[in-house]
């Protein structure tokens, strides 16, 4: 289980326990945390955009070319270091905590 803190655009924070193997997108869309996930997790729609808090960036797997190519289409500005698609980020046994900022818009 990974604890994920979603820092929402309005200032609130939502803390969710995510089962290993599950993506942040599925959880963020389910609890309506400013994540849409239109394409269902194929890194195609850019509506599950999150900014990773700097101290967690190194703990995550490298992004694929597909994710990089779709991040060019985010509605909120892309941050060269912090932007990721949450459909490509899975909870993991070795990852205890992850904090992300949710952009003010996904479309």
């Amino acid at each position: 289980v990974t604890t994920v803190r979603f820092h929402l655009a309005g200032g609130d924070t939502a803390e969710v326990e995510v089962m290993a193997g599950e993506t942040l997108m599925v959880v963020g869309a389910h609890y309506k945390l400013g994540i849409i996930g239109t394409c269902g997790g194929q890194a195609m729609c850019a509506t599950c955009h999150v900014y990773i808090r700097p101290e967690f960036i190194q703990l995550l797997p490298q992004m694929s070319d597909d994710e990089d190519a779709t991040l060019d289409g985010t509605a909120a500005p892309r941050d060269p270091a912090r932007s990721r698609l949450s459909c490509q980020l899975r909870a993991h046994e070795s990852l205890e905590l992850l904090e992300v900022d949710v952009p003010s818009r996904q479309i």
């Binding site: 394409c39 195609m44 850019a46 597909d66 990089d68 190519a69 060019d72 289409g73």
Partner: protein, 399 residues
């Protein structure tokens, strides 16, 4: 929990003229309704349509009796489920992501837009038709270039696309339509063979080249390209003309967009919500399932109505109104889930990023010469069949 009620007031003739009054009544009275004329249970509320799109283990795209495999010569991505679908879909996604499109296709889309703005200008403000002289040939030429066709002009592509679409709608089994479909399909397959031969030797940024380089089998390439041909021209074409209509109805919104060109993306999204170019997707249930208190038994055919969902008052306030300023919420015009429209970024770039701003930059005082609402047609595919336009001043080509 009851079975879907059969309704006898779903009149196909009226739907083609204007489906929205019927959609409104269906959402209110019969959100899951059996419609004999569609041979399907028609779903109209946003939450239900979204659920059907997302719940792919229950709602299969592999619908028995669907004409698509016959038209295309093979099952397409829109008839496949699960991993089989994703294997081919992943390959088709790659050349259609925003980074690739912006890097390789922005200039081509601009050049094509300039070319057909010139055609429109040549007709002059007394004769010009925005659909015939601009939107239709531009959508076809953009797609031809994107797919890698070089020997065929926009008319050829538009005619192939029309034949494939006629086949998809040939529920009455008209042999003359099948003959047209088969003839066009043969020509398209031969044209794809030529493109494949070229890009195998000399890879480029086209979709066909991307699929071939990624190792997709030839019959899968042909199926994906034919699917793109059938679904990649009408929609941008209808968006371009429909946006001009909608902005003329709402001059305050037009002024706002002219002052803030970054709003073109919002205009496109609002248009697609308000007048969804693709009406629905067919599905079949793989198990019993409940929707809005109605039981759909395993094996039920479903018509998942994007156009109806996008006007659901439960989700969108004043849903019937075109309003660029409404709070941004996602819509279902591109579908959702694994089958979401693969051309959505192409539409955003070619229509909202290039065609619309260039059209309004060129023609000062662009307006329609007709307010005949019968120009709107269809509910499988909905849009303007023509749009005569005039303008005060042609600012001329700046290319």
């Amino acid at each position: 929990m009851g079975a879907a009620p059969a309704i006898d007031w779903f009149d196909i003739g009226k739907m083609i003229v204007d489906p929205y009054p019927t959609f409104e009544r269906m959402r209110r009275e019969a959100p899951v309704a059996w419609v004999a004329a569609m041979k399907a249970n028609v779903i109209t509320r946003y939450d239900d349509v979204y659920f059907v799109e997302q719940k792919r283990e229950v709602f299969s795209a592999n619908v028995e009796g669907n004409l698509m495999p016959r038209v295309m010569g093979r099952a397409t991505l829109l008839n496949m489920d699960g991993e089989e679908h994703m294997r081919e879909r992943r390959l088709l996604n790659a050349p259609l992501r925003p980074k690739h499109l912006k890097e390789h296709w922005t200039e081509t889309f601009k050049r094509n837009t300039s070319e057909f703005l010139e055609s429109l200008a040549e007709k002059g403000p007394d004769q010009a038709d925005l659909n015939r002289d601009f939107a239709a040939p531009l959508a076809a030429k953009n797609l031809a270039d994107l797919l890698g066709f070089r020997d065929e002009n926009a008319n050829q592509l538009a005619s192939w696309s029309a034949d494939l679409i006629a086949g998809l709608g040939n529920v009455r089994n008209d042999p003359a339509i099948w003959a047209r479909v088969e003839e066009s399909r043969e020509s398209i397959d031969e044209a794809i063979d030529r493109v494949v031969a070229r890009v195998t030797k000399q890879p480029d940024a086209s979709v066909t080249s991307g699929l071939v380089s990624a190792g997709m089998e030839l019959d899968a390439v042909k199926s994906a390209i034919k699917l793109s041909l059938s679904g990649g021209i009408n929609e941008p074409q209808h968006a371009i003309t429909g946006i001009v209509w909608a902005l003329e109805e709402n001059p305050d919104q037009l002024a706002m967009v002219m002052a803030n060109p970054e709003l073109w993306q919002d205009v496109l999204d609002e248009y697609l919500r308000w007048m969804s170019p693709i009406g629905f997707a067919p599905r079949i249930t793989l198990s019993d399932v409940e929707l809005s208190g109605t039981l759909l038994p395993r094996g039920s055919l479903v018509a998942n109505m994007f156009g109806a969902a996008n006007r659901d008052e439960r989700r969108y306030e004043n849903a019937a109104k075109f309003d660029v300023r409404r709070p941004k919420q996602s819509h279902l015009a591109f579908g959702s889930g694994p089958h979401v429209c693969v051309g959505m970024w192409t539409a955003k770039l070619s229509v909202a990023g290039v065609a619309m701003p260039m059209l309004y930059e060129r023609f000062d005082g662009l307006r329609r010469r007709s307010d005949d609402s019968s120009l709107w047609n269809g509910f499988f595919f909905r849009g303007l069949t023509s749009l005569p336009v005039a303008w005060d001043r042609d600012r001329g080509s700046r290319a």
